[in-house]
């Protein structure tokens, strides 16, 4: 959920590691200030392949199947703009982020959102998935984990993969494949896809890598899709920034413990914030991964927009759940250190609920 961070001006803020800083400075000292090849540094694409194999269980056919992007947003736009025409339909699963909703609207396509039942234990029904597919459906787009930080179960991912195959859909799967906060391996949709299903995996080297401000992401998959996507990327930004690519290369080839530490810290923040919210009588969806958390009041929020605005006036960024298919909920980025969680949770309750709840 980079957008939440962007608009709030608050990222998880782990900072760039010393190793990455040095690698970036070394690249500048070597004069790496020119265009790279259009798809990105070969070494970075190769390292990305390795990462996708390790985390997502996906074997991309050679470095030509990997395109380095200026972050997830560019990758997602390039993928969807290449695959979709106005009037087409996209199949996805609740909750849908507001940024994704706006992106799809800007592409003049419609969206069919499959419900997941209990928000805390998302599950899909085959009939719901089948009913959401029409003859205009072209693409299955999925984030794993979604904005709630909860993954779909393997059997649900298999169900989606099977429906994509039957309906002859292309798949755009936004996944980092990052293990959960507790180190459990949670591959996304890509690993379940049939070999005949055209797909791309989109992601960004962001919070777990300490690279939020460097704007480097990837788009990888079958060359039939990646090749035209590379041409669109060329028409947009030509190539991704060189020094950012060298920073990303240093980050993702570093010992995995660095990323694991950051994931673990996100997990501590999520747990502390969830505990603090619950102690104040707020309901939460406890995430297992990602960088955000959904919270709601004991009674439903009367006006999400007003609550968000009130919080923003006091320097707390939140996103309304309504546009994401979760009315009555607010999403917060995991920017708060564990020790500050009780104070912040209390402040949120005070600001949203005001005198009525007291």
């Amino acid at each position: 959920m980079s957008r939440a961070a962007t608009l709030s001006g608050l990222d998880p803020s782990f900072g760039t590691s010393q190793r990455v800083r040095e690698a970036a400075c070394d690249a500048l000292d070597r004069g790496e200030t020119h265009y790279t090849t259009r798809p990105g540094l070969v070494e970075l694409r190769e390292a990305t392949r390795t990462l996708l194999r390790e985390y997502c269980g996906v074997e991309v056919e050679g470095v030509n199947g990997v395109l380095i992007t200026c972050g997830e947003a560019e990758g997602l736009f390039v993928a969807l703009r290449t695959l979709l025409s106005p009037g087409d339909e996209v199949l996805t699963v609740a909750p849908l982020t507001d940024a994704d909703q706006e992106l799809l609207t800007s592409l003049e396509v419609s969206v069919a959102v499959v419900p997941v039942g209990d928000l805390g234990r998302p599950r899909l029904q085959a009939a719901d998935v089948a009913a959401a597919i029409t003859d205009r459906t072209r693409v299955l787009m999925l984030r794993t984990p979604g904005p709630s930080g909860l993954p779909l179960q393997a059997m649900d991912l298999k169900l989606l993969a099977e429906q994509a195959r039957i309906a002859n859909l292309s798949v755009v799967t936004v996944e980092t494949g990052q293990p959960s906060y507790h180190g459990e391996h949670r591959p996304g949709l890509a690993v379940h896809l049939d070999s005949s299903t055209p797909y791309v995996v989109v992601g960004e080297f962001a919070a777990p890598w300490g690279l939020e401000a460097w704007r480097v992401g990837y788009l990888a998959g079958v060359s039939q899709l990646v090749t035209p996507m590379t041409e669109l990327k060329q028409a947009l930004t030509i190539c991704s920034p060189a020094v950012s690519q060298f920073a990303a290369l240093a980050a993702i080839t570093a010992p995995r413990e660095e990323a694991a530490k950051r994931r673990s810290e996100l997990g501590r923040r999520a747990a502390a914030f969830a505990d603090a919210c619950q102690a104040h009588g707020l309901r939460v969806i406890r995430p297992e991964g990602g960088d955000g958390i959904f919270v709601t009041l004991p009674h439903s929020l009367p006006d999400e927009a007003a609550a968000v605005e009130r919080l923003a006036r006091h320097g707390i960024a939140a996103y309304p759940g309504g546009p994401m298919g979760l009315p009555g909920w607010l999403r917060f980025a995991l920017t708060v250190p564990p020790e500050s969680a009780p104070t912040i949770a209390g402040r949120i309750l005070e600001l949203i609920d005001g005198a009525e709840a007291r």
Binding site: R3, A73, S196, Y199
Partner: protein, 396 residues
């Protein structure tokens, strides 16, 4: 994961063969040994040291947070100040500037923000063909305005007027131009501003080569002229002047109503440019300028070297009054420009881009970018002459 279905392939095909050819040549050259590259518009000179130092300083001290999608407020303010001081173009420093990940992305976002299906946009011919996709995606129609070698590829107002229809929405200007290195003369710029006002056109003015001018050529920003003041979007960037292609940093500036729409698209489709690149751009705008004079002198010498060699070989060209290109007329070779590029790459190990990369009707032209040290340029000219001599027609 193998074949895409016919349905999916039909939706993912893109059209521009010229762009593919251009990049195929560039990528082949990169894999070969001993090639002198006079193809890609990527300055060989280094990013000035004070800019690199500012970036390194920021990296060491932490530049860890994303900026707003439209760019840091500091950089936007500096860009607005630069436009006011140097170009006499007034824009709102908060809502009138969007920092982009390169000037090309800026153009894409502007085109998508202002053009609707059925609209027409006037574009000088030849053109940088990477712009085509933006126009195609907007569902708009590109109408090419002819320019000619004989007058240095100037853009004539009467040609523009002749092609305006009731569907014409915008006029794209690129001065100095790519690939021609020609400039639009100030009297023509002034008349084009009046036409834009008379015919209610938006002007998109790409000024990325504004500081690379020769022989006393003057740059005039159309957005500074009263008739065009409220209808011009200025596009610029740091790649060419400051040798910062790898930093991918540009900007668009203009009326806030348009910039708001551009900023929305930037946020949805791309997000903010890297924070480090923005710090570097800030240093470029506020740092010393002596190095730019030095670079310009280097380009001036290279340009003379190239033009002398082309004159010896009997090639004609439009007078290159700016940028770092020469768009030369290779009709005397008797081969199509792509064949000439192939021949030069394979036999002379010199890369020049074919004119067809810049429009269908330019099969007799080649773009030469003098972006290599003088010794290499001299060597390349010698190899080029030796390779093409057997093909050159007599009397040229």
């Amino acid at each position: 994961m193998t074949e895409a279905s016919p349905k999916q392939i039909s939706q993912t095909q893109t059209s521009n063969e010229a762009i593919r050819q251009r990049f195929s040549l560039v990528e082949r050259a990169a894999r070969m040994q001993g090639v002198i590259t006079l193809g890609r518009g990527d300055p060989d000179l280094p990013t000035p040291a004070h800019i690199v130092d500012a970036a390194k300083d920021a990296i060491r001290h932490g530049v860890d947070e994303r900026t707003p999608a439209a760019g840091s407020s500091r950089l936007r303010g500096q860009i607005a100040a630069k436009l006011a001081t140097e170009n006499h173009v007034d824009v709102d420093p908060v809502d009138g500037v969007v920092v982009t990940t390169g000037g090309q992305e800026g153009l894409y976002m502007v085109i998508r923000a202002v053009l609707r299906p059925g609209d027409e946009i006037l574009v000088p011919d030849p053109r940088y063909t990477s712009y085509d996709l933006a126009i195609e995606h907007a569902g708009a129609k590109m109408v090419l305005v002819p320019t000619n070698e004989s007058d240095g590829f100037d853009l004539h107002p009467e040609e523009v007027e002749r092609l305006i229809t009731e569907r014409t929405k915008a006029l794209l200007l690129i001065s100095p131009g790519n690939p021609t290195a020609g400039t639009i003369t100030p009297p023509n710029i002034r008349r084009l501003a009046e036409i834009a006002q008379e015919r209610n056109l938006l002007v998109i003015s790409d000024e990325i080569y504004e500081k690379l001018l020769y022989d006393g050529t003057e740059h005039l920003s159309i957005g500074s002229l009263t008739p065009a003041r409220d209808r011009t979007v200025t596009i610029n960037g740091f790649s060419k002047t400051y040798c910062m292609t790898g930093w991918r940093l540009g900007y668009v500036a203009g009326p806030t109503s348009i910039m708001t729409a551009v900023a929305q698209r930037k946020e949805l489709w791309s997000g903010p440019p890297p924070a480090v690149s923005q710090v570097a751009a800030s240093a470029a705008l506020t740092g010393p300028t002596e190095i730019l004079d030095k670079y310009l002198e280097i380009y001036r010498r290279r340009r003379r070297l190239v033009l002398d060699a082309l004159n010896r070989m009997g090639f004609s060209y439009g007078e290159p009054r700016g940028a770092f290109y020469v768009y030369l007329n290779a009709s005397s070779v008797g081969l199509a420009s792509y064949q000439i590029s192939e021949l030069l790459l394979e036999e002379a190990h010199v890369l020049l881009l074919p004119g067809t990369a810049f429009g269908d009707r330019w099969s007799n032209y080649m773009r030469l970018a003098y972006l290599a040290p003088e010794e290499q340029i001299g060597e390349a000219m010698g190899r080029m002459e030796a390779t093409l001599r057997p093909h050159l027609k007599r009397g040229k």
